[in-house]
């Protein structure tokens, strides 16, 4: 369970931003997470109250946008959706693809009360 460690990293960043912007409280935290990031959204949500307790983000809403897996084919150069453990081109069947989206673990935006 490394999601607690991930949450603690998020909180450190958010606290820093709150100081820079002289925020009184963090209102919402928006993340983008893809299945190939290795971070589970549900576990992140469960860990968040523990990591945020007593911080400026204590009452923040954690919003997570799930990103789908898409690949671009090195052979036929078309794009397709794929399963996380089968990054195969759905047009020509090649495994020689490149991940376009699906490994995001991004702190996208935060809203704060100033």
């Amino acid at each position: 369970m490394h999601e607690l460690a991930v949450c603690q990293d998020i909180i450190t960043q958010v606290e820093q931003l709150a100081i820079e912007h002289k925020a009184k409280a963090i209102h919402s935290i928006n993340l983008e997470i893809g299945p190939l990031s290795g971070v589970e959204a549900a576990l992140l949500k469960a860990a968040f109250p523990i990591a945020s307790a007593g911080t400026v983000a204590e009452n923040a809403q954690l919003e997570i946008t799930a990103i789908a897996v898409t690949v671009n084919c090195n052979i036929c150069h078309k794009q397709s959706q794929a399963a996380a453990n089968k990054l195969i081109c759905e047009h020509c069947g090649s495994w020689q693809t490149r991940l376009v989206t699906g490994d995001e673990m991004v702190l996208k935006r935060i809203e704060m009360d100033t």
Partner: protein, 278 residues
């Protein structure tokens, strides 16, 4: 401006009326870790030490591989080890018995190493003259894959006793591998349910073109290929250093990609920075 690395955060649309401000951040969730990892990488690069992160399930043979590797390569190259595996407490002693310096890092109950732990370990280790530093990660096929330690290559071990479907079950871990190493090859003949071709195919289905090698630390089979991979990785790495570059594992998390030496990528957001060559 991000205070630590100077990367760009858009100033935010401040709505003074309501007293609310929104800030677009576009940072990795592991921003703090990634900064420490970049710092560790500088340590390694100053000493021209190739750092290799070994990951696997518990008991897949990481320490046994290191013992055998030191036996075979120890008189040609200087090898050192950072031990982070909790499974067997005497892993560091097993390495020292082979004549290589080893630091045991205390991970507490952590299920993965992070860049800060490795940094602490580095300060107990003399890197001068070390050609290859192995970092033996915690035996776990999930968590270690998400944390950049500042290393240059990932090696993921898959032992023949585990099942050839592991790459499909743990795609994040196996996608991170610059080399998949099938271990305990001596047991393949008695295990009828592990097919190395099937394991390789499951690995390829993760869009992995990287090499797959099969070794036995017990019988020594496949060791020459493994040693060759290490030597050519070291040569490649030092050529990159000579050209003023560094190296990162081929597939890195979004965050690590964002914090590659080229900070300019920040302005494009994350969509363009997947698995680019560094």
């Amino acid at each position: 401006m991000c205070e630590t690395c100077g990367c760009n955060i858009t100033p935010g649309n401040k709505d003074t009326e309501s007293g609310k401000a929104a800030v677009e951040v576009l940072h990795s969730l592991l921003h703090e870790n990634d900064h420490q990892a970049a710092h560790n990488r500088q340590h390694f690069d100053q000493h021209q030490t190739l750092a290799i992160n070994l990951m696997s399930s518990p008991g897949s043979g990481k320490t046994a591989l290191l013992e055998h590797t030191i036996d075979k390569l120890g008189d040609q190259l200087n090898i050192a080890v950072i031990e982070g595996d909790l499974e067997t407490e005497n892993d560091a002693n097993r390495i020292r018995d082979k004549g290589a310096p080893a630091v045991q890092i205390t991970t507490g109950s952590a299920c993965h190493l992070d860049a800060h732990m490795v940094h602490d370990g580095l300060h107990q280790l003399e890197l001068d003259g070390v050609d290859i530093l192995f970092i033996e990660n915690v035996g776990n096929l999930v968590c270690p894959a998400s944390f950049d330690l500042g290393h240059h290559k990932n090696v993921t071990l898959l032992s023949s006793t585990e099942g050839d479907d592991k790459p499909s079950k743990y795609p994040v871990m196996f996608r991170a591998a610059d080399l998949m190493l099938i271990t305990k090859a001596d047991l393949l003949e008695v295990l009828d349910d592990f097919d190395t071709d099937k394991a390789t195919e499951n690995f390829r289905q993760l869009a992995k073109q990287d090499p797959v090698l099969t070794v036995s630390s017990k019988k020594g089979s496949g060791m020459d290929e493994w040693i060759n991979w290490l030597k050519s990785s070291l040569t490649d790495y030092r050529e990159k250093l000579a050209a003023g570059k560094t190296q990162q594992p081929a597939i890195q998390s979004d965050g690590a990609a964002m914090h590659s030496h080229d900070h300019a990528h920040h302005s494009h957001g994350h969509a363009h920075v997947h698995s680019h060559e560094s």
